[in-house]
Subunit: 244 residues, 2 copies
């Protein structure tokens, strides 16, 4: 495992005492390490192509959550969340089309194999794990891509941030997960473990989106970015009463 | 098998010669047997509850098609179609809420087991069968519920028809299916068979939505309705060059 990843994960594993779960839901960090990320942003085509395919993956995760949901109420709520992510995907493909008449599908294709693999590794074994997957991966990657947009041309960045920061149904996911965990406290340990595995895989996906110049971005530049993302992840897990 | 079903299916099995697939895509029948269906419509609560859960099922079918799609272009296109169906579901649940402050989830619950079973029986073994499932079941049931809306209170019916006649991505499905069948002509026989099985299961789901008064609606009243729905189904299969 890469040193930077080992180093940021070390903080997670420390098992420091968790505060009581706060009552509010997060729109966690808002602005993540924009200054550091700006220099590491890829070209608009690469950014949009990668996030375009990623939004399909996140959408499919929510689709799986809809299917696995045991009640009509949960299905309806998750379907709303999926609709918002679907609209974000449509917005990103529209930006790709706008960009020198780029074919959106061709721009997304280079990331398909890698991100399909990410999806397989993070898909979860049951409804509860699927919900955590939706919550953790979309939350982390939304923070990350919103920060990375600081390195895009200004006008494009301003249009893209609201798309990648789409309300991915975080409130709905928190509500469903809290209710499930309250009904079955033994879930907490399993879901905390699952969340920890997810964040490792998700950090690798985020890192792959950074522009690599020759020798690649130095560890020093990347570490603060990921520390901030991990802090936001920890707050997200806190809200569920789970150890990050 | 019920007599009415056997009788309407008999027409399908005749294998009469198929015309060349027309070039246009259908919004097939527009108005299906409104007069006959009007008398058989259930109460608004039953209609909306049943269609509400059904729209979840049709949405999940499209979600499965997104997941199984092999290319980013197909995924994006199917995701758009799913978004339209998701909006229809939201519209129906809004009507349920409007109806004497009905809880949408409670109104849908009575149809969950039956429609989950329908979904399992019709889910399809691979991407091609899933696409046919989306095309055949949503097309047939959209026609049926639009016709049945003639028996709802007038103002409600007028709001509901555009929801149930939502553009369920028929154009997208036709485009994808035609391309796949052209690439692999041996698919046609298998998909025609699959379509035939789907229409039988789908007719049973439609029939279950009719109001049953004491001895139930007479065969004579139901048969013309289903003959018209089957004719629309046959046109839908013709467009793909498949035998209904």
């Amino acid at each position: 495992m890469l040193r930077w990843l080992r180093s940021v994960l070390r903080g997670l594993r420390g098992g420091r005492p968790r505060p009581e779960a706060p009552r509010i839901t997060p729109r966690s960090s808002g602005v993540v390490a924009r200054r550091e990320l700006a220099d590491l942003a890829p070209s608009p085509e690469v950014y949009l192509g990668r996030f375009g395919y990623l939004s399909l993956v996140l959408y499919e995760n929510l689709g799986r959550a809809v299917m696995a949901a045991p009640t009509p109420a949960a299905k309806s709520a998750l379907l709303r969340a999926a609709g918002e992510l679907g609209a974000a995907h449509a917005g990103v493909t529209a930006e790709l089309r706008r960009l020198k008449k780029q074919d959106p599908a061709a721009a997304m294709e280079p990331y398909r194999v890698e991100l399909d693999d990410y999806q397989r590794r993070t898909q979860g074994a049951d409804w509860h794990e699927i919900l955590i997957t939706c919550y953790v991966t979309a939350g982390f990657l939304s923070d990350f891509f919103a920060g990375l947009a600081a390195g895009l041309p200004k006008a494009l960045g301003e249009r893209v941030v609201p798309l990648v920061r789409v309300e991915i149904g975080e409130g709905i996911l928190v509500e469903l997960l809290r209710a499930e965990i309250a009904d079955n406290p033994r879930l907490a340990a399993r879901l905390a473990l699952w969340g920890r595995r997810l964040v490792g895989d998700t950090m690798l996906v985020a890192r792959a989106a950074l522009r690599i110049d020759g020798v690649g971005p130095s560890e020093e530049r990347i570490e603060p970015v990921f520390s901030e993302l991990i802090a936001a992840h920890t707050r997200r897990m806190d809200i569920l009463g789970l150890t990050a």
